[in-house]
């Protein structure tokens, strides 16, 4: 018991939770934005991979770190655009299109990586983002190490949560996005283009998702590996529901998942000799389901989620 407490009151633990949560924050915010506009984006796992690969490769080719972030976002936007065109004006199944985009983005990233780098036995490294040292804040007891020794992308993720919440709730564009996910007819009858708003939102959301991938290769690590996204995108889809499509709750959900994960690696070394390691690895998933059961009744679906909109059709 005391070990568990020790873990929970350690600043390093919370720093790890925030680090692990960062790609999830990008992912869940991106997924949430798309779904708020009524489009489920199962392309997320592939968009993560594309962001991870493209961002890393741009830096490797000399674009600079922020140049890499931009390229990652553009890669995300590109695949988002494919998904958006297939699902919005063409009204195709969002499930298949999403999984198709995942297959496409993943295999294209792998193919490009391998074709560009056929002969690497050890993957090339880049100079990744370093934790920021913010004078004053980073030296605070507990909070300093827990919050203020993160890389810039973590702060970008946190900023993005606030910006997303602001845009969604406070700007005309945000209102239009919310409306188009609830009742596209309401948007059209007010003279706005359902397609433009949906496509734009999905493209933007996908660009955000891709940053989650970029974080993996440019912040959490400094090289690209096949399979390194490792299901993180799917977790974000789950977190979106958990968050009831709200940015604030999405942040909490991602942090919670990060904390579960940071907790399980620590617990594993504590009591790992009695319990199979898989039990610990299951923990974040099991706890996510448990958390979902608690919030389930209050889940507030965007009513037009998954429903394609065709003008003038019954």
């Amino acid at each position: 018991m005391t070990e568990i407490l020790d873990i929970l009151i350690s600043a390093n633990f919370w720093a790890a939770a925030l680090r692990i949560a960062t790609p999830l924050i990008f992912g869940v915010i991106g997924a949430l934005v798309c779904e708020r506009a009524g489009v489920l984006n199962l392309g997320i796992e592939g968009i993560f991979t594309a962001g991870a690969m493209a961002g890393w490769m741009a830096v490797w080719l000399g674009a600079g770190l922020w140049g890499g972030v931009l390229v990652a976002a553009m890669a995300g936007a590109f695949f988002g655009l494919i998904h958006a065109i297939l699902t919005v004006p063409l009204g195709l199944s969002q499930h298949v299109s999403g999984i198709g985009v995942t297959l496409f983005a993943t295999s294209l990233s792998y193919f490009i990586y391998r074709t560009a780098l056929p002969d690497v036995s050890s993957p090339p490294r880049i100079e990744a983002f370093k934790p920021l040292d913010i004078p004053g804040l980073s030296d605070l007891p507990f909070l300093g190490p827990a919050l203020f020794q993160q890389t810039p992308l973590t702060f970008l993720a946190l900023l993005l949560v606030a910006v997303t919440a602001y845009v969604l709730y406070r700007t005309p564009l945000g209102l239009a996005i919310q409306a188009v996910g609830d009742n596209p007819a309401a948007v059209e009858s007010q003279g706005l283009s359902v397609y433009a708003i949906r496509i734009g939102t999905v493209v933007a959301g996908s660009a955000i998702m891709a940053l989650g991938g970029a974080f993996l290769t440019m912040s959490a690590f400094d090289a690209f590996f096949f399979g390194m996204v490792n299901g993180r995108g799917w977790i974000c889809i789950a977190l979106t529901v958990f968050a009831s499509w709200r940015p604030g709750k999405a942040l909490i959900g991602a942090l919670l998942f990060g904390a579960f994960d940071a907790f399980q690696v620590r617990l594993q070394t504590e009591v790992g000799s009695f319990i199979p390691g898989q039990v610990f690895l299951m923990m974040p998933y099991l706890l996510s389901i448990a958390a979902l059961i608690v919030v389930a009744r209050r889940a507030d679906y965007p009513r037009a989620l998954l429903v394609p909109y065709f003008r003038g059709q019954r």
Partner: protein, 301 residues
């Protein structure tokens, strides 16, 4: 003579440390003009048998691969193509007429790197992060632990498996967790662990591949695997038409040059280095045998 036609089948991408050693040895042979080399990577378990057959049908002289999770199927295919030589990573023995096996038998240098680590640690806590608890990994970890305790009975181990071969961010997090627990040396079975060590200014033990130049001042010691002796031997036999199904495992032993031990003498205590070197000589002279223990290592804290 014509170059030997070699195909390799990997269940993981060639970046994976293990596979990269095979790939490296084969590419070197190709450079020398001894072989033509082609490979399929990331082959799914369910496709493995088909890929083997396709290469055999293409008239490959030698097929190199990992039979670990496809043992029975691989042996069956090999039996159906007696004209092709198969050299497969396997925990089992060779089989007539053409199925030879190898494995990464670098438990010896692992033991030696353990000796260095055991003597160097100040906190007496060593963290070990692995991908999966498979025999090929367990064996090296166990040898390492034995080496460490042989010089320092007080040393304790933290063990975590991250359940993935390529999730460096995750491996890094596991390593950070161990540093929080007081580990001052990390056994880097996966990419990501040495990065955590470097970031936190502690030491790491390399495994299979040499990463010392990527992490200057961080890699204390490494147990390296060299596939060249194994591959070159097999190619030679195939080229001279004298390939026999045998256990090529010993070619990974230190005495054949298949395994080697390196230590950064600026980071390790001098007496530890000399003790390890002495033990290395004993191993090479056949005076000391490192135990082989394939069971899953557990934390001892």
């Amino acid at each position: 003579a014509d170059p030997v036609k070699v195909a390799a089948i990997y269940t993981v991408p060639v970046e994976q440390q293990w596979v990269s050693r095979i790939d490296k040895a084969l590419k070197a042979a190709q450079e020398r003009g001894e072989i033509t080399y082609t490979f399929s990577e990331n082959v799914a378990n369910t496709d493995y048998e088909r890929v083997m057959r396709e290469y055999a049908e293409q008239g490959m002289d030698l097929v190199v691969g990992e039979a670990f999770a496809v043992e029975r199927a691989a042996r069956k295919v090999a039996a159906e193509y007696p004209d092709t030589a198969f050299l497969m990573g396997s925990s089992f023995g060779p089989a007539q007429p053409n199925f030879a096996v190898f494995d990464n038998w670098i438990h010896e240098p692992s033991y030696l790197s353990g000796m260095i680590a055991g003597a160097t640690t100040k906190s007496n806590v060593i963290g070990m992060v692995g991908g999966y608890a498979i025999p090929e990994v367990n064996r090296l970890m166990n040898a390492f632990m034995e080496g460490a305790t042989s010089v320092n009975p007080d040393v304790k181990f933290l063990v975590t498996f991250i359940n993935s071969w390529y999730d460096p961010p995750k491996a890094k997090e596991a390593a950070f967790a161990m540093i929080d627990k007081g580990a001052d040396i990390l056994y880097a079975e996966r990419f990501g662990v040495s990065d955590a060590a470097k970031e936190k200014g502690i030491l790491a033990i390399g495994n299979v591949i040499d990463t010392a130049s990527d992490y200057p001042g961080t890699i204390l010691s490494s147990a390296l695997w060299h596939m060249e002796p194994t591959i070159d031997k097999a190619i030679g036999l195939v080229a001279s038409d004298t390939f026999e199904p045998a256990d090529f495992g010993p070619y990974s032993f230190m005495s054949y040059g298949g395994g080697s031990f390196v230590v950064d003498e600026s980071l390790a205590p001098a007496d530890a280095v000399s003790a390890a070197k002495a033990k290395e000589q004993e191993i090479l002279d056949g005076l000391f045998r490192v135990n082989v223990n394939d069971s899953e290592p557990k934390s001892t804290m």
